[in-house]
Structures are given as C-alpha cells and as structure tokens.
Symmetry: C2
Subunit: 254 residues, 2 copies
C-alpha cells in the first residue's frame, strides 16, 4: 500500500513553530509536502489572490521534506499545492498548528480553517489544528501528543469527504486534558474597537482591537469545551444556506 | 419616525459603477453612509486587516452623501463603519452591487458577501447584491429596478437578525426577469488551474484561473435560478457546523 500523501499548510507562515510541530507529528502518518505562506496571513479568511501574480518558492527549511513558500494566502497555498506542486491528489490536508484558537465565529476569519475548508471543497479529508496560545514560542509538545493520538484514531475512519474538522487545543499541560469533545460552533463574537493613532505626518491610522465576548455559549459548543479542558472537534461544512429561513422568506411572496 | 440609516460597502472599490448604482437606488430608502475599499478587493473573503494599520479617508465622490474610502477589506469597511464612522447602529447594511455573480460556493471567496455576513454577525439586517456581469461598465439599470422592487417588499418584513441575504441578478434585460426565487447555495466549484508565466528576470509567477463547474446543481439552488432568469435570494448564515456529522463522529469514541 502506498503511503498516504499529506499536504500541509498554515496561516502563520512557513517559519512558524506551529507549522514545524505539525510537520513533525504528521511525518509518522505519511509522505509530507508543505506549501505555506512566506509571511503571516492570520485573519485572511477565505481570501484568494486574483489581482496580483502569485509567487511560489522552493524551501529547504524542513530536513528531507519537500516544501514551498508562497506569496499568497492559505487558500492560495492549498490551490498551488493541488494544482501546481503535487503529482497526485493528496489523501489529507492538514492546516496549522495555528498560534491562537479558532473556536466559534473565528472560523470565518481564520486562514488556517479556510485552508481546511478549501480542502473539503476539493473532496479531500482536511483538518485544521489550533492551539489556544498566540505566543510565537508557544509550547507545542502537548499539542503534538494530542494530534498523534487523534490521527491514530481518526485516519482509519471514513471522514465524510465534504466536511473538514476544526480541532482546538486548550493551553494546558497534557495531563490536564480531559479528552476529545465533538462540538458545534459557539455563538461568540468580537466586541470590536479601533485604536486610532497618528503617524509621523499627523495623519490618522487604525488598529483593530477588541475582546471576545462569549455570553451565549452552551455546553455543546467548542468554546465551552476548550474552557473546560477538552480538545474540541467541530465538523465544519461550506454550505452557508440558512435552511430554516427559506420557508419563512418564501411565505413573503416576493 | 427616524429615516433608516443604511451603511453601504462593496468589494470592487469606491470607484465601482456597481457601488454608485446601489447608492442611487438605496437613497430612496434611508440615509446613506458609504465606507468602501479604496481599491478592488474581490476574492478577499472574510479577511480582516490585523498586521497592518488601516487607513480611512473622507471621500466626496458621492454628491451630498457621507462617504469614506479605506485601505482595508470589505469586512474592515463594515467594522470601520460600525465602530468608527457611524454615531448609531445602522438599520441596514447593503453590499455591492458586485460586478460578477456570487452564487454557490463563491459566497466563501466573495468580499461582497463577507461584508453582509459580518453585518449579520453584528445583528444588523444585511443584504449582498451581485450582478452576473464582470464588466466594469456593466449596465446596472435593470439591477436598480429589481433592487428597488425587492427593497420595497423586503424592508417592511422582519428579516431574522442572524442571517443575511445573498441576492444574485442574471445578466438579462428587465422584461426577461421571471421574478425572485428563494434558494439554497449550489454545490458548484471552481475547476482551478494556474497559468505559469516568466517575469522579466526569468522567474516564474502564477495567475489563478479556471472554469466554474456546475454538474451537481438542483432546481432549488441559486445557480439554477439565475440560469433560468430568476433573481436568486439565498438566506445565508455563519454557523459552519456540519450538524449531521456530529452524531457520526461521536460514535467513533475518540
């Protein structure tokens, strides 16, 4: 049997410790090819590069592993991997390990998860991994052990081909982790603010800032799970139709 | 009664004819404030600007209408509108009119629709409008008449606050339009390719290109509707959980 082919990307860029950690743990499960952004692409959501030419560079950053960096977004990296780099369709796409959690509505802003969603749109089993720690020097050792355990159990299963998995790992030591919890996406939102500053010419500029508000979180939800020391797994799909609203709007007889 | 306050944005940029057309038709329904990107931001999905400072410029492009351009993405424009520009929460957010359709999975890549989705995440009735014509000089007169008709019927209804509407208008003359159809998002995908070229230094670069494949489209779907001369309306929500997969994965006992 052929070794599984695994395409790996992320949104923190090819130099991120989280990417390195994901490559390390994934090596045991198949042949790895990395295509990752050449700079941080956090918050890029499902953006693709269509108004500028894309660049793709061979990288020797990982010992003995075929790797490329790209000027594009995480979704660009998936597309470049599938349609330019790889000779055959990969068996899996892994994205991450993100520096920072992607629970709740963060899935919409996340480049890490957009890459996994793009994979599922191509019918490839895809998983996004995130650690609830924004620190560039975060300790990924517990995450690596968790991911190894999860992949051992998961990759023998038949994951539906039109979904991907959003895996979030709490920032705690391994012995405090209570296990895996299959969840739905929490209803939590950023309470946004802009910090207005003046540049050296006295012209204003803005930084987006804010707090994550989570007043409406139920025990079935991912945010609840990771706050309670579980690794959350949200099966994630790309049909954004509000089916329950269709009948209501049909009644309006527009 | 106070006039409704309407925030308008788009992803083709503040100079786009589609934005101008949407402002023209929306003026009759309330007080307009425009916050739009200062350059084309098509394909930016739900991207937000977090690694670079955002700029916001007053614009006099629309006669007698408060308008701003921003260096950011469509979602940035919504956030700047809500948290920096407007004194009160708007009653509606309109996005578009996009030059090009946003049916099917295009909703994930679309900056136009991301702006509307962001509005719904803030609990504001939001609508994204798109015309199936990429031409910068597209004829928006039929679209204006259709949108006027739709808003007249729609804005008196109580649209659920946690969804937005994705409205797509076929590129045909007004008398050929058969009406509005409430739809679900089609299962159609881009069959992507990269066009590889060499720059003046002999280094490669890539343009994303491809065809839209729509083999799996049913009569309830938006792509079917606009191909059959209907204006499609898809109620769109931001919970990306695949609820039907939750029970399956729970059974795996991870």
């Amino acid at each position: 049997m052929k070794k599984p082919l695994i395409l790996i990307t992320n949104d923190d860029g090819i130099n991120a410790k989280g990417l390195y950690s994901l490559v390390e743990v994934s090596k045991e499960f198949g042949e790895i090819v990395v295509v990752a952004p050449n700079k941080p692409q956090s918050g890029m959501g499902h953006a693709i590069t269509i108004n500028n030419p894309l660049r793709l560079y061979k990288s020797t950053i990982f010992d003995g592993i075929e790797a490329y960096s790209s000027s594009g977004t995480p979704v660009d990296c998936v597309k470049l991997g599938l349609f330019e780099v790889l000779k055959r369709k990969p068996d899996f796409i892994f994205s991450g390990i993100n520096h920072g959690e992607n629970t709740s509505t963060n899935v919409l802003y996340s480049g890490t998860m957009a890459a996994a969603i793009e994979g599922s749109m191509e019918g490839i089993t895809s998983i996004g991994f995130s650690l609830a720690d924004f620190n560039p020097e975060a300790d990924f050792n517990p995450s690596k052990a968790i991911i190894k355990d999860l992949l051992t159990k998961l990759l023998v299963k038949k994951i539906p081909s039109n979904i991907c998995l959003n895996v979030n790992i709490p920032k705690i030591s391994l012995n405090k982790i209570k296990g895996f919890k299959v969840c739905n996406q929490a209803r939590a939102f950023w309470d946004d603010r802009f910090e207005k500053r003046m540049d050296q010419f006295g012209k204003p500029y803005y930084w987006l800032t804010g707090d994550f508000s989570s007043s409406d979180v139920e025990p079935t939800m991912d945010l609840f799970a990771i706050k309670n020391n579980y690794v959350s797994i949200v099966p994630t799909q790309y049909d954004m139709t509000s089916y329950q609203s269709i009948e209501l709007i049909k009644k309006w007889d527009l």
